[in-house]
């Protein structure tokens, strides 16, 4: 499992798409941090203080990470099935290990990205925001799990690429909309996106989101166990 995880992690850093995404995250984080620092006194009046830097990053994650994650992870399983490279690894380890390895590899990539981004803003914020890091990881894990599930359920990488992008646009818009809406269907929908839990005052709610990647992983495992490779 760890060999697969490590390869996934390493190959994500090698791809051009991921390098662009890392560049965007770090660039936006640094840019936002510089912008925030020029309005520091005003922000402190609103009680935001130093956490405004990390909040900026978290907002970027909440809005853009579904697209980033989907771009990088949508074909993590089905590409290997399509190219038949999975046949070498599936004869050497269990399918569970492949799925877990892929999930962890992708998640670690995001953990490192978030960690570096938060590290970059420490000169401005004068603090390392552990809670924001944890929240970012929880949020990203939802979409990593969802992308992995799509990649397991749908055999064609082209389809998951399109579907992943559609979901990455629809889920944040409808997710944020559903929080404020009184519509019963949107209310129900809000419970299956992470945005409802992130909008709650109680931070504990954020960690409820972790149930979703577990569910996505479980469905992925059940699906891949029954599939011919």
């Amino acid at each position: 499992m760890f060999a697969i995880c490590f390869r996934e992690f390493k190959s994500l850093f090698k791809s051009i798409r991921s390098l662009i995404i890392i560049g965007v995250i770090l660039g936006v984080t640094l840019g936002a941090a510089k912008l925030v620092s020029s309005f520091q006194s005003q922000l402190q009046e609103f009680g935001l203080g130093d956490s405004a830097y990390a909040t900026g990053l978290l907002i970027l994650i909440l809005i853009a990470s579904p697209l980033f994650v989907s771009t990088l992870t949508h074909s993590t399983i089905n590409e290997e099935v399509k190219s038949r490279t999975i046949r070498f690894i599936a004869t050497k380890t269990s399918r569970e290990n492949i799925v877990f390895g892929k999930f962890l590899g992708n998640l670690f990539f995001w953990i490192v990205c978030l960690f570096i981004a938060l590290l970059l803003i420490t000169p401005f914020s004068k603090a390392f925001h552990v809670s924001e890091l944890m929240e970012g990881i929880v949020f990203v894990s939802y979409f990593v799990g969802l992308s992995l599930l799509l990649s397991t359920l749908i055999p064609k990488p082209g389809v998951t690429g399109f579907l992943g992008m559609a979901i990455a646009v629809i889920v944040p818009i409808v997710g944020l909309w559903s929080i404020a809406s009184e519509n019963i269907f949107l209310k129900i929908y809000s419970y299956i996106t992470p945005y409802y839990f992130f909008s709650h005052d109680n931070d504990f709610y954020i960690y409820i989101v972790l149930i979703y990647p577990i569910i996505f992983l479980a469905i992925s495992l059940i699906t891949i166990r029954k599939r011919d490779l």
Binding site: F2, A3, I4, F6, R7, S11, K14, S83, R84, T85, R87, F88, I89, A90, T91, K92, T93, S94, N97, K226, R227, D228, L229
Partner: protein, 316 residues
């Protein structure tokens, strides 16, 4: 003791049965050849045995030295699947390192190099696989099966599309592997290869095992039938019907040409009688050629309706 045992192993895709109630027994330490035409179900069977495909029904057992868990089975089996590909961004050495890590092995660089030497890739250890020829990929495919010093190796079409020199390397490698006590299960189209390498073979057609046994025993069974070609002189028209009638009584599958006749006799002693038939009617006989059926003929006959299974699955 058998290394591989299957019990009514079946694979269906929708309504289509690709592998139909296969019962196989492969002796430990043997080289077992699994023959069949394209679409016969060979790869599907090997995929089921190696965990790549889920059987629709039936079961199989791999008798390894230590098989307490599925994980252990995978670490004691080497598989070279057909239609598989490597990672383009990795070299041969990196592939072996990656696969060994997946298997949970702790190996030194020298051990990987030794393996690559074994398959003749010692000069290409750091070359990215995307630059590999088809034959080189096949060799790497075999090298990775040997990583865990397995009890059983499954090789799906190990030499298809490979140049003659590489075929020789692969053949001698397979013999070496088997010499170490490893059971080798290989599928092939190449009858020559199977005849050279295998102790036992099984021929599959349309998902059913038609024949199984040692090459010698299969040949022996089929050699009861001999294919005879007689080159003869002109046949007087008044004797034509008589000759045809008499030949039909001692031979089968009689095919008439202009100057020769091809027929099948069930035993050797019928050949002199057949010769007397010609000479008795004053027909010159220039040449009599007797063929023993080759493995290829056994193979080619397997799919035909008239082919009689020598060792049916029940007899295994």
């Amino acid at each position: 003791m058998y290394a591989i045992e299957t019990n009514s192993l079946t694979k269906k895709y929708g309504e289509k049965t690709v592998v139909n109630k296969v019962n196989l027994k492969v002796k430990k330490g043997s080289i077992f050849g699994f023959l069949g035409k394209n679409g016969a179900g060979k790869s599907t069977l090997i995929n089921m045995l190696t965990g790549l495909a889920i059987p629709s029904s039936g079961s199989f057992k791999l008798n390894l030295k230590d098989t307490e868990s599925k994980r252990k089975v995978q670490t004691k089996v080497g598989v070279m699947p057909d239609y598989s590909s490597f990672y383009d961004d990795l070299s041969a050495l990196e592939h072996l390192k990656y696969f060994s890590k997946i298997l949970g092995l702790k190996m030194k660089k020298e051990e990987f190099i030794k393996l690559l030497q074994k398959v003749g890739l010692e000069n290409d250890t750091n070359l990215k696989v995307k630059k590999f020829s088809f034959g080189m990929k096949k060799k790497l495919g075999i090298a990775q099966t040997l990583l865990n010093n397995p009890d059983i190796i499954f090789l799906d079409e190990p030499t298809s599309g490979v140049d003659a020199n590489s075929v020789l390397t692969i053949h001698s490698l397979i013999k070496d592997i088997s010499g170490d006590g490893t059971t080798v299960f290989l599928t092939s189209h190449n009858l020559d290869e199977v005849e050279k390498l295998c102790d036992e073979i099984s021929i599959m057609d349309k998902g059913i095992i038609k024949l199984q046994g040692s090459i010698e025993s299969l040949k022996k069974e089929f050699q009861k039938n001999l294919i005879v070609t007689v080159k003869h002189g002109p046949i007087p028209s008044q004797h034509k019907e008589q000759l045809k009638h008499k030949l039909d009584s001692i031979a089968s599958n009689v095919e008439w040409g202009e100057e020769n006749v091809r027929l099948v006799v069930s035993e050797e002693k019928k050949i002199p009688s057949m010769n007397r038939l010609f000479t008795g009617l004053d027909i010159d006989v220039y040449r009599i050629q007797v063929y023993e059926p080759s493995l290829e003929e056994i193979f080619l006959n397997t799919g035909k309706e008239e082919a009689v299974p020598l060792h049916s699955q029940d007899a295994v």
